[in-house]
């Protein structure tokens, strides 16, 4: 018997009535194939709209709140991501990809402004301030990296007046996300990593993960009945840890082979010998415990979370019912089972540490992984330094449903697509999958390309999207210091429009990996060489012409006796010679 639990349960569990200022957090642990472990942290805090407007910050962090008010930002989505979600083996993305960002930093926000120019000015204020707050190079999101998506994003919050809200979107694919971004992220939490599930977050483990994404989402939420509005901030961290890798002690991180006695060998191999061994796959779930995997103990519950009810259960693990889980703590805790016993949630003790210990176990049942609605891969084809082409392969695994989705590309200005070469081709059918196109061409050094497509992909088929592009030649000063590494092109953002719908307004997304674009790079000593060469040529030419015009030409035998510099030097040489001759 195989039991199934999709991630759709999680938002449903967390969603609740918004009343006043409150705080929720939850950690969901989910073992993935190949000894990986997905840890989904979710922190959500509320502040009443009135208190937020008056700058009386309680659970909402003041530093972020002031920035948002200063930049007139009504809704904010900020993502820091590293790594790639391996959909083939890990299945459906956490939160259906709604809390995931593209590699590097991604930011989009709804900004209140009277005009486009004003909105852009406020956007610049926003990115500059956020850059300082999160120690990230967000200030490099300028006009060339900013687009205004049309169909790919919808506001998640309740906005009274959407007519003067402007959506701006920027991606920094080259940004290296690291510990310095986690520290300010943790500081925004009310319990600051000192208590609650956030005490497990550690920079060494988080940025060592195979995939990790940190998200901050701020939106206004209004109750269905009254005018009671709150400003909600949601912070999310999703990470996929390799259990074996993260269990390595920090002071001795080099993996070492186990002694041969401990390894079960495949004796059927011809080369099997006392000193040669092909290890057998043990087919068991690995043993792990929280302190090993996260490198830190879980320091009890954050006292701000609810004391009772499902909200108080802040640690959940999604494992088959037969999986043995020992709870190691001195304090009071409760355990509850739900979703046909595949979800075990724990109410943490306050003030004392808690550890989950999972022994090594041979399993007879497993969890069914939710299947992604789409698979996407994108690559650059072609050769040479002048042209190239982009190919995106999007696969619909569903045997019955055609999937409608949008495909958003935000390309840098120096990667100039030829829109007439855009082809969307489905292997199985002749129908054109391309339904709508939104295109805003790039302007050199002023703005990048914004390409948004609405496509439909029939069931069980693969869509191949290709277009050619031209590589621009940059000015000498526009190259980064590591120009030969190449330039990053942001990932494509795919939003699934139908027939699948997420339970809330978050939407369902997936993102491709970023592209590395190699542009023709000059020799950087070139300007000086050019100066010297042209100067020499010009000086030669000038000297010749000038001498032709200004010199008097006489016969070779009529040249006056050596005078001037030549004569002086000859006299010197003569005197030196005579002196040496004497000596």
């Amino acid at each position: 018997m195989r039991s199934f639990l999709s991630f759709a349960l999680l938002p449903a569990l967390i969603a609740c009535a918004h009343a006043g200022p409150d705080y929720h957090e939850r950690l969901l642990l989910r073992p993935l194939p190949q000894d990986a472990l997905l840890a989904s942290f979710n922190f959500r805090s509320n502040e009443t709209a009135a208190a937020y407007e008056q700058q009386n910050f309680g659970l909402f962090p003041r530093s972020l709140g002031q920035i948002l008010q200063h930049a007139h930002t009504k809704e904010l989505h900020l993502r820091f991501s590293v790594g790639r979600w391996d959909a083939d083996s890990w299945g459906q993305r956490p939160w259906y990809g709604a809390r995931e960002g593209s590699n590097g930093v991604e930011l989009w926000a709804w900004i209140e402004a009277g005009s486009d120019d004003e909105a852009f000015a406020r956007w610049l204020t926003l990115v500059n301030n956020l850059s300082g707050l999160f120690c990230a190079s967000l200030n490099f999101i300028d006009a060339t990296k900013t687009i205004r998506p049309v169909v790919s994003f919808d506001p998640e919050g309740d906005h009274a007046d959407t007519s003067n809200l402007h959506l701006l979107h920027g991606i920094l694919p080259h940004e290296v996300v690291c510990t310095e971004n986690l520290t300010p992220f943790l500081k925004l939490l009310p319990c600051k990593g000192k208590a609650g599930i956030s005490s497990l977050l550690d920079g060494h483990k988080l940025f060592d993960a195979a995939f990790q994404t940190m998200a901050i989402d701020v939106r206004p939420v209004c109750g269905t009945s009254g005018r009671q509005c709150v400003v909600e901030m949601e912070q999310t961290v999703d990470m996929v840890l390799d259990i074996a890798r993260s269990k390595r002690p920090r002071d001795d991180p080099i993996p070492r082979p186990r002694p041969i006695e401990d390894i079960e060998c495949d004796t059927s191999k011809s080369y099997n010998a006392p000193d040669t061994c092909y290890p057998l796959d043990k087919k068991t779930e690995p043993a792990w415990k929280l302190t090993d995997v996260f490198g830190k103990p879980l320091r009890g519950a954050c006292p701000l979370t609810a004391a009772e009810g499902p909200e108080s259960e802040t640690l959940c693990i999604n494992a088959p019912p037969e999986r043995t889980i020992h709870v190691n703590t001195t304090g009071q805790y409760t355990e509850s089972l739900s979703a046909s016993d595949t979800l075990r949630c724990y109410k943490l003790p306050t003030g004392t540490e808690l550890d989950l210990v999972l022994p090594e176990q041979r399993m007879t049942t497993g969890l069914v992984r939710g299947q992604p609605h789409l698979y996407a891969a994108r690559s650059i084809n072609g050769h040479g330094q002048e042209r190239g082409s982009v190919q995106a392969v999007i696969r619909n695994p569903s045997p019955t449903d055609a999937v409608e989705f949008t495909y958003l590309e935000s390309l840098p200005w120096f990667m100039k697509p030829y829109l007439h070469t855009l082809r969307a081709h489905v292997s199985a059918s002749d129908e054109d999958p391309l339904k709508e196109t939104y295109y805003r061409p790039a302007v050199d050094r002023i703005r990048g390309t914004h390409l948004e497509l609405r496509l439909v992909i029939p069931p069980a088929s693969t869509l191949i999207l290709t277009y050619d592009f031209e590589k621009a030649i940059l000015r000498y000063t526009e190259y980064p210091p590591d120009a030969n590494r190449g330039f990053d092109a942001p990932p494509a953002v795919i939003r699934i429009l139908g027939p699948f719908q997420s339970a809330d307004r978050k939407g369902m997304y997936l993102r491709t990996t970023p592209l590395l674009l190699s542009l023709p790079t000059p020799d950087f000593s070139m300007p000086y060489n050019v100066i010297i060469l042209t100067s020499t040529v010009m000086a030669l030419g000038f000297g010749n012409i000038f001498n032709l015009l200004a010199r008097r030409f006489v016969g070779a035998d009529e040249v006056p006796a050596a005078g001037g510099l030549k004569g002086i030097i000859q006299a010197k040489i003569q005197s030196v010679r005579t002196r040496f001759g004497r000596a």
């Binding site: 009386n56 910050f57 309680g58 003041r62 530093s63 000192k194 954050c302 000038f542 000297g543 035998d557």
Partner: protein, 539 residues
Amino acid sequence: MASSGNEEQKQPPPETKQSLWLRRAVIASFWAVVAFLGLPVWYKTTAIYRADLPLQDMTAWANGQVCKPVFPLHIAVQAPLLAQDAHHLLHATQQTLDDLSDFPAHQLHLAFAEPPPPANASQQVTADGSGPADLDDTVALSVRLIPVETGVTPRSQLQPFSATLDVYYQLSQIPTQSSTSSPLTTFIAHELHQLYAQERVRLSSLYSDAASQSKSLSPELTAQLQRDATRAFKYAPTYHLTFSLFTPTSSPSAWDIETALRQYMNPILESFAGISNFTIDTQVQLYANFSPSIRQPEYDENTKAWTIFKEDVSGFINAAEWPLSPSIGQGPTINFALYVPDEVQSPLFVKGSRDNSWLVPQWGGVMILNAQSHETTLTKEALVPAMQVFSTQLSSLLGLPQTPASLPLRISTLTRIHATSLLFSASSTLGALAQVYQKMPTIPVPDTVAKSVNLSLAHLRQTCESLRDGRFQDALQNARTADGEAEKAFFERSMVGQVYFPDEHKVAVYLPLLGPVAVPLIMAALKEVKAGIAALKGR
């Protein structure tokens, strides 16, 4: 070597006059191109735009040659006296005052004001602190002479919430026409002199030249003023107030700050409204320990309290972890930190005293609140001591003088001090800008700088006039604009860039071209000049 043996050398045929002149013309035309085309183009393309600045004026202001600020304070005297008697009283008092004066710029001018209708004399002062309505706003203080029969006379009482000094006297103390002084006039004069003692000291210290330093000033008072001055923030048109609640545990996690601020902080902010604007924000920070670099609190058996060392107070603020970043927008942020210690370390005091609050100069104030009950929400009542401490700290952080007892008087003193200091600061900024302009010929000066400078100068002139006329509020407004414009001109961003491209750099880039071109030109010209001189001599 070849020529050494050859004694007889063939001479080239003499040059024709035509070819000689042709050669000269060629060289001259090359030089003409260089001089009339090359150099102007070079000059034009590398020239830096420098707007004209009124350097003379700017330096004059910086040296204090244009305006010596004076502070004529108009004091209205209300007395139930006949006009003649009153005039005489005023005259005598004025004379005594002038004799007492040790700082000539600060002048007190007495004027007789019509006594208000006696029926409601006692209710004249309205609760909101505004003075009698018929007095125009140039009046700095009104003195009410009230005849009484009993008690020690003359005696005076200063109204704490209005600029009014009540002087009680007996009718017999009115100076007669013949006498030049009486106990009453001397008393009033001394009272007034005393009232403005601190203001005079602070204003004269702004003048900074030793000559005008008050001799009557005791060293303690000077030290006190010095301390006050280092504590206070530099004047800004807007201050951001940040009230933060820190606790090392998870409680209290909320506070009734909104109502507490409305009740205890808004009145004092309203009285400062004429000087600066304020924005307020608050935050609650849990799990916020004080700095780990200081020693842990110790339990004191005698006082049954936990104590931190006085030396550690300066390191109490945990700047690394407490999110006390300045607020966004113009103007400095004043921080007020309320620290609620852990229940097991409560009550917490500074060692050697029962003090639990202190002021961090030019940063803000800190208070340790030893809460009576350990509820999760701090009520308004529990916040009352904190609000009182914070409002006192705010006054000294804003540089409000500690005397006299009347708040409107102190605020008007602060207005004059700020107007004067802004006047001096704007002048010295302009002076510095003039120096930069003269000393660094390579920096570009855009027109906006000139505009700002002119605006600043105009406002400085108006400030000076307003001060002379006793319109101190106007003076502050003008001085504020003047200072803002002066700062804007000085910190103009485009003036910085060019400094990093020195002339040597340009020469290095152009030398490969200019060197080879210049050498034949110069050599040819020299040779021709030499030949010309030789030809002239030979003739």
